[in-house]
């Protein structure tokens, strides 16, 4: 690709970087953390944590056991975890190839396509839900065909929840994976091809393992986004306990009549997501790097 340039030898870092001792000393905090960074950093951290702390302070600890004893809570939690995971799986299957297409091929209008991919990020989720209804609803542009040909209707079903969550979560994955792909050296794919690998084999056996950390990070983002999804889900899939009522929906509706229950539910959701994310982080991120 580039003319041979002995001085550059960029992949030196890739092939035998660790010889230079990449070993980072754990916990080595350099003496002078610059104040202009430290102060906003701490303010930022406080800003993110304060609402959570408030939630903990105002939590109805006394009635909490009763609140959590309700089967609906666990039903909603189970549904949330299932649908967020399923939505992440859907995002992976469709989003990784899409990211590859955006990062590795050239076609007219690619810039526009990339902008369109991020559209669900700026779209208010409720609008996204309405758009999904218009597209995949029983009377929607495509949904009408799904209904007449296969008898499939998505609204008011758990599959609909997954669709709505995947719609808002997939852009996170695509953006994350595309970024990693752009940073990854495409010449590894070329090397694989000179060894007889088809483009797909090169992708599967070389590129995919190389970008695994990016995929893991994107999946975690997508999963977290899907878990907290509210607007698109309630608009597209409705709200029925056990079928489409995820935790955020349960929280929202509980808030209408029983704020204490809402806070209790929020705590459960928080706790579970923190546990899962921290667990994944340890397992995936460290294994991949």
């Amino acid at each position: 690709m580039t003319p041979s340039d002995p001085s550059a030898a960029p992949a030196d870092t890739l092939t035998d970087g660790p010889r230079r001792g990449r070993g980072r000393t754990p916990g080595r905090v350099r003496g002078g953390t610059p104040l202009p960074l430290l102060v906003p950093a701490l303010v930022g951290l406080a800003f993110l944590l304060l609402p959570l702390v408030a939630l903990l302070i105002r939590a109805p600890w006394r009635s909490l056991p009763d609140q959590l004893a309700k089967p609906e809570v666990w039903q909603a939690l189970r549904l949330s975890l299932f649908s967020a995971t399923a939505a992440t799986a859907v995002s992976l299957v469709l989003g990784v190839p899409l990211a590859w297409l955006l990062a590795r091929t050239r076609f007219p209008g690619r810039g526009l396509v990339r902008a369109l991919v991020t559209l669900p990020l700026v779209l208010p989720p409720v609008v996204g839900g309405v758009a999904l209804l218009l597209a995949l609803g029983r009377n929607g542009v495509v949904g009408r065909l799904l209904d007449t040909w296969f008898g499939i209707t998505l609204p008011f079903t758990t599959a609909g929840v997954v669709v709505a969550e995947a719609f808002v979560a997939m852009p996170f994955l695509v953006i994350s994976v595309e970024g990693t792909l752009r940073a990854a050296d495409p010449r590894y794919e070329e090397a694989a091809m000179t060894l007889g690998a088809s483009r797909f084999t090169a992708f599967r056996r070389v590129t995919l393992p190389l970008i695994a950390p990016g995929i893991a990070a994107g999946s975690v983002l997508a999963w977290a986004r899907a878990l907290g999804e509210f607007g698109a889900t309630i608009t597209f899939a409705g709200n029925f306990p056990g079928r489409t009522q995820t935790m955020p929906l349960a929280v929202y509706l509980a808030l209408q009549s029983d704020p204490d229950a809402a806070i209790a539910l929020s705590l459960v959701l928080l706790l579970v997501s923190v546990a899962v994310l921290a667990g994944l982080r340890d397992r995936w991120m460290t294994a991949a790097s």
Binding site: F156, T244, V251, Y252, Q256
Partner: protein, 281 residues
């Protein structure tokens, strides 16, 4: 503009209510910013047709979402009758409105869609006057245009294969529907319990659901996008809409005048035209 601010208000209120931090401050900020400049620029010397004491400034009305069309019209009428005044609305679910009032949101008037939600405010002692029922709303079945499934009664909704949406039991229209169903000993499993009456109606408008149990006023507002079917059991679940002046009302004089307008013959005409019923007593 009202739609957007109403929605924004509703969302932010809920989120912050959960966080239980700064909700009051934020709402106060957003309310103040609009009222301040208005108060400054209001021209009090201008004569008006009304003989009552000079009214000026902004009246902030928190009202149930179902009142949106009629209250917006009444607000314009009020501003015309009392030059120099401005009526600002925050439309939303009665519960969340009540929550923000008890949380300290500076409002003058609260018009709720049920006595229960009004009770949240009165229980906290945030109302200055006893709530008065100013209209009532009755349930109706909204079906697809032309009523293709031949829905004629509440019982017809229990037919299998029919996709029905109800409001969630935590919101007034859902509670009312449940009351009507219980009264007629019907068991109805909907495909979804929607978070508010407008969402329930939207599902029928978009033909995703075959029928919804909503308010008469909503069916009327939807025009020909849905067809209304009255059912006798709705008499068992008529919703009273109470209105009250709030204790910490920044502009109680104008607020009282607005409540009077709502209860006047003129006001009642606007409301009944929208499908509301007059109060019984």
């Amino acid at each position: 503009m009202t739609t957007r601010s109403a929605r924004r208000n509703r969302r932010s209120t809920r989120t912050l209510q959960v966080a239980a931090v700064g909700a009051a401050a934020l709402l106060a900020l957003s309310a103040c910013s609009s009222s301040d400049d208005k108060a400054d620029s209001s021209d009090t010397t201008k004569s008006s047709s009304s003989s009552s004491p000079k009214l000026s400034g902004t009246v902030t009305v928190f009202a149930a979402a179902s009142l949106k069309e009629s209250f917006t019209a009444l607000g314009q009428q009020f501003e015309k009758e009392h030059p120099g005044t401005k009526v600002t609305f925050s439309f939303g679910g009665s519960d969340s409105l009540a929550a923000s009032i008890t949380g300290g949101a500076p409002a003058d008037v609260f018009a709720a869609a049920s006595p229960k939600t009004m009770a949240i405010v009165t229980d906290k002692g945030d109302a200055a006057t006893a709530p008065a029922t100013f209209v009532r709303n009755q349930l109706e079945i909204a079906t697809l245009p032309g009523n293709p499934h031949k829905v004629a009664s509440l019982k017809d909704l229990t037919k299998s294969g029919l996709k029905v949406v109800l409001c969630d039991k935590t919101v007034p229209c859902g509670a009312a529907a449940q009351k009507a169903l219980d009264a007629s000993k019907l068991k109805l499993t909907p495909v979804s319990y929607e978070q508010d009456v407008k969402s329930a109606l939207t599902k029928v408008e978009l033909k995703e659901a075959d029928a919804a149990v909503v308010y008469k006023t909503d069916v009327k507002a939807a025009g020909d996008k849905v067809e209304g079917v009255e059912f006798p059991e709705s008499a068992d679940a008529i919703n009273d809409y109470p209105i009250a002046l709030l204790k910490d009302a920044p502009n109680s004089a104008a607020a009282k005048a607005f409540i009077a307008l709502v209860q006047s013959a003129d006001g009642q005409k606007v409301l009944t035209d929208a499908g509301f019923l007059k109060p019984t007593s």
